[in-house]
């Protein structure tokens, strides 16, 4: 397990949120349930590579790459 950005996930990959690094954006993300310790799965990437959509807290949440960049994660070792 190593620290990474949410943007480094590939479609289908799972990770655990570690920390949120931007004060303003973290307020919004936290309200929507992106809290440290929560599991995220990258579910889809928009055709032009941005924004992305992750499955979190049981629903699908979209965000721009610039926003995903502020989220530090730890990848869950796959299999």
């Amino acid at each position: 397990m190593k620290a990474d950005k949410l943007t480094s996930l590939r479609p289908g990959e799972k990770a655990i949120i570690h920390s949120l690094d931007d004060a303003e954006i973290s307020v919004k993300l936290l309200e929507m349930g992106c809290t440290p310790g929560e599991e995220v799965t990258l579910e889809k990437v928009a055709p032009l590579g941005d924004p992305i959509a992750v499955r979190i807290a049981g629903y699908l949440l979209s965000m721009r790459l610039s926003e995903a960049e502020t989220v530090t994660i730890r990848k869950v070792a796959s299999n």
Partner: protein
Amino acid sequence: MENAGQKSVLKRKVALIGNPNSGKSTLFNALTGLNQRTGNFPGVTVDKKTALVRKQFGKQEVEFSYIDLPGTYSLYAKSMDEEVATNVLVDKSNPDFPDLVLIVADATSLKRSLFLAGQIIDLNLPCVLALNMMDDAQKAGISIDVQRLSNRLGIPVVPVSARNKTGLEELEQVLSEHNELPAYRFLDAASISWPAVNLVLKSFAAENIKEYPALYKAHQLFATDEKWREQLADAGFSPNTAQAEESLLRYGVIARHLEACVGKATGNAGFTQKIDRWITHKVWGYVIFLLIMLAVFQSIFYLAEYPMSWIESGFAWIQELILTSFPEGVLTDLIVNGLLAGLSGVVIFIPQIALLFFFIAMLEDSGYMARVSFIMDKLMRKIGLHGRSVIPLISGMACAVPAIMGTRTISNWKERIITIMVTPLMSCSARLPVYTLLISLVIPDKMVGGIFHLQGLVLMGMYVLGFVTAIAAAWVMNKIIKGKGRSWFIMELPVYRMPKWSNVFYLIYEKVKIFLVDAGKVILAVAVVLWFMVSFGPGDEFKQNQSRISEMEDVLENRVDFTSDKYNDHEFRDQLIYMDSLKADSINAALSILNSRQLELSYAGRLGKIIEPAIAPLGYDWKIGISLITSLAAREVFVGTMATIYGAGDDENIVPIRERMAVEKHADSGLPVYSFATAVSLLIFYAFALQCISTIAIVKRETKSWKWPAIQFTFMGALAWVASFITYQLLK
């Protein structure tokens, strides 16, 4: 004690609040029997709506006043629509301040729903939690221990399914009798920023508020009051940190509640995932989007054709009937050429309007709309818009007015203003009548590539033109308008749902009714004024011309009857008939000159003549000028105006307006008025000009100033003139 003979009605104000797309409006409709707009994307409702319902509970009659509100994820509103919702809850002097808050939670994403619920519990208001979408939760295998959740939260919890109308009776029962404040607080808010809470508690000691309301007040004071901002900052209060801290604590509490009350099966959104693989695919995503749009326009043009022609001939029949069975006179003329001509101009477009709204409702209800903003965000951002701007832009194809209200969900001021400014460039349903008429006039009815109708393609081209221009205008404005504030795309993508057909059809019915009544009112008013203006004129010239016309008509009518027995000499009779026909021809020719002169001499004609120099370079004559003026009220008036103007010179024959326009010739040159160049130039003019009073009014309301509607009217008008000028000069 109450007087036994006098029934007392218990009044209860209930506000529905919850996350966007949690089904508040659907529940509101189920409770009140109304038909508020619902749709499967976050941010459908952007304004509040109240309805009264009386219900008998045993001996007690209760009058509920339900308030449907926009959705929000938290009490810290981040856009205008969210503010509408939170304002109702936090300001006790607000007339909509509820006796009871009905928190609507989406049972399939309870975690996120409980966040807002916890905040409301901590506001210390009487509240009830409705666990909505229980049907979906069951399908997904989520089991919720409702009683336990209720015990832990300290408020009543009622499972319902608003869409299937289950659980409503229990809910109403609870709403009628529940009065208590929450049994416990959700969170120890003081620990978040004790100095700030303390400061507020002391200053507002008289109001006797609790800790979380005090913290919330600290946030509000920090945002609005200079002095407080300093004081709070000195006490170490920072809104962002406090909000982040609060969220972390709340989700901590929520995790424990969920642990105790929710049994989770493996959540599967398999259906949504499968569809999404195509809809948001790199290539197919855009291809599908284009194909959908293409299908929409093809069917608007061709499916609607049959009912439209029935309506057209129906009206012609009624007009004939009235002309033949009523005495000739001013009143008959007003009815046939003023009212009926104007009315047929509206009614004929019902099939197209209905189809357009059907498609838009499908896009909105299925969940596709949110995907479109998802795949478009990156492109939109480049030109100063937001992915969400796509929703107002698409619904602007129906009508710009609700679309502009819908921009409230865009939290960034600059992105919102630009969206408002360019939305009226999208081709709305009011332009459809104008486009249809002009296209069918000059574009041949041919097939292209075997499957596409040329006229349908051109119609779609008009919509593309509107869209492309909107994009270009946004790009320019992005360079000019100075922006402030951050923008984000942190948004829920809803699961796909089958549209609810009863909803879709009700929406169509409703929209057609509004179109008929609202547009109808304007059109009829304009038609009456216009009829007056073409039927009367200033000075003696008009009257003189009129009496000459009627004298010549007398001469024509009193012609010799050659069928009588008197003419035994058939050869001579045929000569007489020939001479008579020569005479009739020359009288008819003179009459038609007088008739067209009559219109020119009328008030409308004089007005048209005045503006003719300004529009002649665009290829328009003064008759078209008259319709441009009347269209300022609303675009669809164009068709009725045409009908009235061309009907005015010709009482004898009722022909559909399209056929009448096709044979219209320039008086001097004898060339057709509606040449290809003129018709295309007119199409362009209607595509760009802001001829809609309702839009101007709504932009004023949403931007709270006359500045933006004034800028909008001017730039769209200038664009229309210049583009039509270029078009005409190139094509003529």
